[in-house]
């Protein structure tokens, strides 16, 4: 499976100008909302039991970007989060680690220390998260700051205002600049804030725009608006990464974020991955859940599968 590709990939020329970019993005196949949602709902009826459920739960745990993005975050809270990412279930050391902890830039160093040596990554939101309303140099400084503090991954937000105004090249240039600021050490997740893009056609266009600009991951949302990850918008993004790889050879990851709280929900997303992008994406290098409370539910379900008893909130750690 190709994971690397020449930088000047098959689509490099579509970014020659605002108009070529617009023509390309508007030439992508349209999305029929009813059909998309029906497909997502239909995959949601898959019945995942016993061994498949055990597999899915561990996979989901390993895909969690354990997140705290509050004004009230403290180093203590971030350290606790890091400890939980490394040992999600204090009673069962066989539970896999989460993929990453996700924090604001000023907490990167604390987080880095907390997960040191565990393989758990530190992701940081940057670029004036969550609204993205700042000048480009401010956003880039934000990114460089987080990378300098040791962030393995940067979760940036796109300029939705520019996108909705059709200034696609501006959005593209900004992603390219952020990617450059990430250097070679940090992977870039590009957040579209799908709830603000309003239409599925826009989500498809944003996905391709992000991928062409060099995103390592495309991510639904910040978790800070009313509508975050949904099965339908995640399905749509999975189709985009699947088609992008077919066309360019470059594999891009997907991260639904916000609103995924239960094991049942998480498994539905994994079914979407399995039956849309396929097996190659069933790995935390290519798929993540941006979530906080999800992990505890996964752990309780995991305990239930192991012991046959239903678990309770007192048997998982509260952060």
């Amino acid at each position: 499976m190709p994971t690397t590709a020449p930088p000047a990939h098959a689509l490099a020329d579509v970014t020659a100008s605002d108009s070529t970019l617009r023509r390309f993005l508007h030439g992508l196949p349209g999305v029929d909302a009813v059909g998309l949602e029906a497909r997502a709902a239909s995959l949601g009826t898959r019945s995942i039991k016993t061994t498949a459920k055990a597999y899915a739960i561990d996979l989901a745990i390993s895909m969690v970007d354990l997140t705290t993005l509050e004004g009230a975050d403290t180093p203590g809270k971030v350290r606790a989060l890091g400890a939980k990412a490394v040992h999600p279930d204090p009673t069962d050391r066989t539970a896999p680690t989460t993929a990453a902890v996700c924090v604001y830039p000023d907490m990167v160093a604390v987080a880095k220390e907390a997960v040191a040596g565990s393989g758990v990554k530190v992701a940081s939101v940057a670029t004036a998260f969550p609204a993205g309303r700042a000048a480009l140099d401010v956003k880039l400084a934000d990114v460089r700051d987080a990378v300098a503090a040791g962030a393995d991954e940067i979760d940036m937000v796109i300029d939705r205002g520019a996108f909705l105004a059709g200034k696609y090249l501006k959005v593209y240039d900004e992603i390219v600049a952020v990617k450059e600021a990430c250097g070679t050490s940090a992977r870039l997740k590009v957040i579209f804030e799908t709830g603000e893009l309003s239409t599925y056609d826009n989500i498809r266009r944003a996905s391709w725009l992000g991928m062409i600009a060099g995103a390592d991951f495309i991510k639904t949302s910040t978790g800070k608006v009313a509508v975050n990850a949904t099965p339908a918008n995640t399905l749509l993004m999975l189709e985009a990464v699947r088609d992008f790889r077919a066309q360019t050879g470059i594999q891009v990851g997907v991260k639904p974020a916000g609103g995924i709280r239960t094991t049942k929900d998480a498994i539905k997303f994994l079914v979407l991955v399995n039956e849309t992008a396929g097996q190659d994406w069933l790995d935390n290098h290519w798929f993540r859940f941006g979530a906080s409370s999800l992990l505890n539910d996964l752990l309780m379900q995991r305990q239930k599968l192991a012991t046959g008893r239903y678990s309770g909130p007192d048997y998982v750690t509260v952060d």
Binding site: V34, T194, S198, T199, N228, A229, T230, G259, I260
Partner: protein
């Protein structure tokens, strides 16, 4: 003043907007109610029936694709033209059906009015028979009537003019094209109606009129694979059964004969008998991708 010798009319078929003689080269004698010779009418053959179907099929695309408003205007034009030739039709109907002049006049008036009635239906029947269906899902769903296609019409045997108009007008009002077999013993009003149709903006081939032996012409029409429907108004019980069996070969829509008082204002039965219902579903969904959140 010496008596002037009148000029007889040679009655011809009406096929594809033209007035051919029968391909068979044969005619049969048409008499009035008292057995006096009136004219020789063409004796249509199977080949004439086939030609008529070809003409009707050719005309179907244009006529069914015309706007309902346009079809209404054309049907109204038929009424206008008939009104102008009222005296001729009164005379022909009186002779054909053995009616007094005043009774024949009432029949012709009713026939003219029937064209007007159906002219008004062309752009309303879709609203009466179609409509939106409130399906339980994110779909716009609309049913609308469409013409069946080529309809073979066995005109009533007794009511040679009013009956004919009453079965023909609804067929073409909805956009079908017709192959009409005129009343066997009284075909002349039908053949004269062809002359009116030809001068009334009815496109050639929309109505085709054949005279001759009803059973002989109807049999190949009932079996014809490119005829979509058949109105058996002019068939007796035995013939109707035979034709209905033949019509099953390509599942023609069959309107069975039943007693009709043609002087009464009709219902919509003859309009809907040759309509198909098409239901189109289209996805709607929400305006945006907001959807439900978890």
């Amino acid at each position: 003043m010496s008596d002037r010798l009148s000029v007889f009319k040679t009655y011809k078929l009406y096929v594809g907007g033209k007035f051919p003689r029968s391909e068979s080269g044969r005619v049969y004698e048409v008499t009035d109610a008292k057995d006096n010779w009136l004219a020789n009418a063409p004796l249509s053959s199977r080949k004439d029936a086939r030609d008529a179907v070809v003409a009707a099929r050719k005309a179907f695309g244009g006529w069914s694709g015309a706007t309902a408003y346009n079809r209404g205007q054309v049907l109204y034009r038929v009424a206008e033209m008939l009104e102008g030739r009222r005296e001729q039709f009164v005379r022909e109907v009186a002779q054909a059906e053995g009616l007094s002049k005043s009774k024949a006049a009432a029949v012709v008036d009713a026939a003219i009015d029937r064209w007007v009635w159906y002219a008004g239906w062309t752009d309303k029947i879709a609203q009466v028979t179609g409509g939106a269906n409130p399906v339980a899902g994110p779909f716009f769903n609309l049913s609308s009537p469409e013409p069946t296609g080529v309809v073979a019409v066995l005109a009533p045997q007794d009511s040679s003019f009013l009956g004919l108009v009453s079965v023909l007008a609804p067929v073409i009002a909805t956009g079908n094209t017709a192959v009409v077999i005129a009343s066997e013993k009284a075909p002349l009003p039908a053949l004269s109606l062809a002359e009116v149709l030809a001068t009334s903006d009815v496109p050639g081939g929309v109505v085709n009129i054949l005279s001759g032996r009803t059973a002989e012409i109807a049999t190949p029409l009932a079996a014809h694979q490119d005829v979509n429907a058949i109105d058996l108004a002019g068939a007796d019980e035995e013939l109707a059964k035979e034709l209905e069996i033949a019509a099953a070969d390509n599942l023609k829509r069959v309107l069975r004969p039943r007693p009709v008082d043609f002087t009464e204002t009709p219902g919509t039965e003859r309009l809907t008998a040759f309509l198909e219902t098409k239901t189109v579903w289209h996805t709607t969904g929400a305006l945006g991708a907001a959807g439900s959140s978890y």
